[in-house]
């Protein structure tokens, strides 16, 4: 399948307030390709550079060296900015700070207004987007009266109304309660499955990452692991050595295996764990 985001040999370092080089690479020699239709989770603990990586994808940040190609367009070329951002939407952590308007539907329309979609088509796209995230009945509410999960879904609706081909979500559930987290994760999975939108999910929740097709583990600015969730989480000791956890089920399997039982750490879902335990106990 075609690569929609190609990150080639990228180094990134921040500049301090005086525009001087800080001299520390936040990202180092990153090579990463995101394929069309994939659901990729990017894992890493705080300060690992995972958010920086996300911001490189739609040209919010530009690489210090190396190239980022989004849909074949170089992100460092200012003329591509508009086109890249139309194709790659971004959802941030704090839902409060990304809602612009005082009414839900006006907020969903904000991006469409920016790209000059005519009124009638806009109405339809706003309604469709709100229905897709199951927030249609709240279209005339004020955003500050919604719960965290609902606000985040409105933010997502604002992005999907623009019909992007890829959405990058930077820890969208970090500030939500468990219920809001489930709502948002269900929405994200639905977007990937039903709408065929490529998803890049930055997270530090292992259970969320386990739902992806592919996991990229970032540690200290480099790609440490890259593969299917089963194979990534099976490297329990390696993940623990960099301060990351594995899903609880995998942890259980890991401990059982340590005790010499025929369990294996490829298991990341509760169903699979149940089947195995059932067999062992029978």
């Amino acid at each position: 399948m075609e690569n929609i985001i190609e990150i080639k040999n990228v180094n990134f370092r921040y500049q301090n307030a005086d525009e001087e080089d800080t001299g520390v690479n936040v990202l180092e020699r990153i090579n990463l390709n995101i394929k069309k239709g994939e659901f990729v989770a990017v894992l890493g603990h705080n300060g690992s550079g995972k958010s920086t990586l996300a911001k490189l994808c739609n040209a919010i940040l530009l690489p210090s060296s190396g190239v980022v190609l989004s849909y074949g367009m170089d992100t460092s070329n200012e003329q591509n900015l508009f086109d890249i951002r139309k194709k790659i939407g971004m959802v941030f952590q704090n839902p409060d700070n990304q809602l612009v308007a005082t009414v839900v539907e006006e907020d969903v329309a904000f991006g469409l207004e920016n790209i000059g979609v005519p009124g009638e088509e806009m109405r339809k796209r706003v309604d469709d987007a709100l229905k897709a995230v199951d927030m249609y009945e709240y279209r005339e509410h004020a955003p500050h009266k919604l719960s965290g999960g609902q606000k985040q879904r409105v933010a997502i609706a604002g992005i999907i109304a623009m019909k992007p081909e890829c959405i990058v979500l930077d820890e969208p559930t970090a500030m939500l309660d468990p219920r809001g987290r489930t709502e948002v994760m269900n929405t994200i999975r639905m977007l990937n499955r039903d709408f065929g939108i490529t998803i890049v999910l930055i997270t530090h929740y292992m259970e969320e990452a386990a739902e992806a097709d592919r996991i990229v583990v970032i540690d200290d600015g480099t790609v440490m692991l890259d593969g299917k969730p089963e194979s990534v989480f099976s490297k329990v000791s390696l993940l623990k050595s960099v301060g990351l956890d594995v899903p609880q089920v995998t942890e259980l399997m890991f401990r059982l295996k340590e005790q010499g039982l025929p369990a294996h750490t490829h298991i990341i879902t509760e169903e699979a764990a149940f089947d195995l335990l059932y067999k062992l106990l029978k």
């Binding site: 951002r85 939407g89 904000f110 920016n114 009124g119």
Partner: protein
């Protein structure tokens, strides 16, 4: 306590006034203010007050809301009426010591009170019946001729609507910070004026810091959603003027004429 602040409160509804083009509502409000200020006599104020009463009746906004809008200005009304009552010269009605009350003083005070009360109650009707978004859109549309003078009209209306959006968020945040400081032993309810003002510093500083970081994040999110200023933007809800809007405007103008006429004749 902070939740009671209701700046630019909007009461959704489906009355004639609610459906009116917000641009016309702003112009009519300006005409209404002109009515109040061109009147120099109590009788001259009557057309303006009748006009306001008709508007309230059309808007189906409950009467008690109008009274509520007047509550915050009671101290101002009291203060100015006391000043006017005692310090205006004219035919002396009676005198106690050095305090004197004149006919002119009484008349002027009554005009003052009516004028301020009608001003507040009438212009509140504008925000009661128009959503914040339609108001900022209307301001943008009304000021658009200034664009030729390079006045940042779109930016101004964008700022207004973002400010409106964040009022409740920041009020919530202030409440949280206040609780947090109280939990650390901050005392905000006792002491003199100066002491209380000083007690506000540990609330304002975190509030400002967080407002700035919110602003940064919001700007980033807006950029990601292809915001590039006012050029080439379309609207979900375009403003459309209808026959009823022109009719309303004409009626308001007639009332203004009536005010001027009454004043000339008396």
């Amino acid at each position: 306590m902070l939740k009671d602040i209701t700046i630019g409160q909007f009461f959704p509804g489906d009355s004639i006034l609610h459906r009116m083009d917000a641009r016309f509502k702003i112009i009519i409000t300006a005409l209404f203010i002109a009515m109040l200020f061109s009147a120099d006599t109590i009788i001259g104020l009557i057309p303006g007050i009748v006009f306001m009463a008709v508007c309230y009746a059309l808007s189906k906004i409950p009467f008690r809301l109008m009274l509520k809008s007047l509550k915050p200005i009671i101290p101002i009304i009291l203060f100015t009426s006391v000043l006017n009552l005692f310090f205006l010269d004219g035919v002396v009605l009676f005198r106690i010591g050095f305090v004197k009350i004149t006919y002119y003083g009484i008349e002027f005070t009554v005009i003052m009170i009516l004028r301020i009360a009608a001003l507040i109650a009438g212009s509140s009707l504008l925000t009661y019946t128009s959503s914040p978004i339609s108001l900022t859109d209307a301001v943008e549309s009304l000021l658009s001729p200034l664009k030729k003078l390079r006045f940042p009209v779109h930016e101004l209306s964008m700022m207004m609507s973002i400010a409106l959006r964040f009022i409740p968020t920041l009020i919530e945040e202030t409440d949280k910070i206040m609780s947090a400081q109280k939990a650390r032993g901050a005392d905000m309810e006792s002491g003199g004026l100066l002491h209380r003002a000083k007690a506000l510093v540990p609330i304002l500083i975190p509030l400002f810091v967080s407002a700035f970081s919110r602003a940064m994040e919001l700007a980033l999110a807006m950029e990601c959603r292809c915001y590039q200023g006012g050029e080439g933007r379309t609207r979900l809800k375009e403003l459309h003027s209808k026959g009823a809007d022109y009719l309303g405007l004409t009626i308001a103008m007639l009332f203004l004429d009536a005010t001027v006429l009454v004043d000339l004749l008396l």
